[in-house]
Amino acid sequence: MFSRDRWSEIIEALTSNWFRTVLTAFGVLWGIFILVILLAAGKGLENGVKQGFSGIATNTMFMWTQVASKPYKGMPKGRRYNFEIEDVRAIKEQVPGLRFVSPRNQLGGFGGANNVVRGLNTGAFNVYGDYPEIIQQEPMDITSGRFINYSDINEKRKVAIIGEGVKTALYDIGEDPLGTYIKINGVNFMVIGTYKKKSQGGDAEEAQKQIYVPFTSFSQAFNKGNEVGWMAITAKDGNSITNLKGDIIDIVKTRHTIHPEDDRAVGNFDLYQEFSKVNGLFVALKAVAYFVGVLVLLSGIIGISNIMLIVVKERTNEIGVRRALGATPWSIRGQILMESIFLTIISGMAGIILATGVIWLVNLQLSGMDTSEMMFLNPSVNLGVVMIALSILIISGLLAGLIPAQQAIKVKPVDALRTE
């Protein structure tokens, strides 16, 4: 079937009318071009948006206390409660599949009063008491020094990691903050590191104005006892935090004597759910790209089918001659099918190459720009998509040739010969 003679037959047939072949091929070329470009653009948008999530453990939920909204076991509604450090251990022990459970306490907040002093400079910053794992849940670049470690936690060292924004507010230009002391609510902490966060959008500025100190030192210095204000909980890969959320909240409710149906007592935010929504958007976008692309491709394929019908009509006499000389119906059918598939694949390949070229040009343009603020990054198609496109092409080439091939052998040889 794939002998050299078959190929030369196909090439001969297709090159006998160059102009028509090229025009026909263009339909398919255009279809596959649109398909690939749409998929690449979707991918670019996806990359751009996901850039904002980069480094963040998306399989994460955040949890904080609110006010009990139902009376339970003699406790009134409207009661306030606090997470305790024992809750963290209980959650870690009772819920399998969790990667990190990071408790946090906090000072300051939006619009808070000045709470940090260094020499003559003062500022109002968020001060967090954190565990070392937080850097994996809330990514930041350590620009100098280091982040909190477990020695700091165990020995309750009074050390602090400050944001670039804090540094500009409290230090002179060019001054090295490492080893210096800042006074947080009257307690001295030694600066051991600076960080810069990758956040974008509205809180980009605010994100640089935070101070991280070890959780244990924070509790001791600011009289928190064993209170925990807030928790960031990340599930292991393969477990969805959305599924584990219920168990975690139930544990907290039991430990703090909260009505099991009190939905308001434990405030939480499920990052994974939000992320899934964004993900779902891109799945939908991809579906639209395939839908539109395949439809455009379809019109190209109908074009090929159409031309093959004309070709068969034109070559009725030739087909008659071939059959008189001993061509079997299948060899005629095969010839037409192969021509159609060959034409489809060649033009499809050209379309893919053209689209890839365009994507390359776009990438070349983008690489010269700062894309961190753009919702578009590295538009691309992977090999899998190209393979899918190719198999679509082969199948459609087959479909395009099927009717003409059947048409070709429907005419009796004697009638075919009579056609001039």
């Binding site: 001993g326 119906p329 060899s331």
Partner: protein
Amino acid sequence: MIEISNLHKSYKMGANSLHVLKGINFSVAEGELLSIMGSSGSGKSTLLNILGMLDEADEGSYVLDGVPIKNLSEKQAAKYRNKFLGFIFQSFNLIGYKSALDNVALPLYYQGLARGERMDRAMSYLEKVGLADWAGHLPNELSGGQKQRVAIARALASDPKVLLADEPTGALDTKTSYEVMDLIQEINDEGRTILVVTHEHDIAQMTKRIVNLKDGVIIEDTVVSQVRALENV
């Protein structure tokens, strides 16, 4: 070589049917050069198509070289056509985008011969018809007579039992016609069975036997003394 008895064929033309062949009986021995004559509408082309397995008879039997030709599948028919028959057409029916050599090699391609051998065989047949120098030319670069020679070479290529020629000189001038007939006579001299359909008397006289067809029946079947075409060129 060919045994035909009581052959009937009719074509449906809308409501009424046209009875074209009304019981044909004749046989052809090996090595004969036979012409089938008749005015248009006499059924001679239909007969040739049935002989060529391009069409099927409604009734009667047709035995070719001991093989009954009846109810063949398209695939079988294609195989038999390739093995037993060589066709020569009035309008040459060469494939326009193939060179003379490739045209001649086509039946061998369908026999499944390897490319090299195919080309060698095709070339030797082109030499036989005197067109070796034109092997690489496309049909539209050849004259009518040359085209028909290529067609004859193609018909010979698969080494068939019988050559069927449908008005082989119909599109040629007298001189070229005679040259083509000379070639046909030469091939017949080598012992090949040839059937020529024609309505030209001078062409018919160049065969060894004339079967005259009228309104679907044979009215005359005579052996004639062959006129050599070469003498009249």
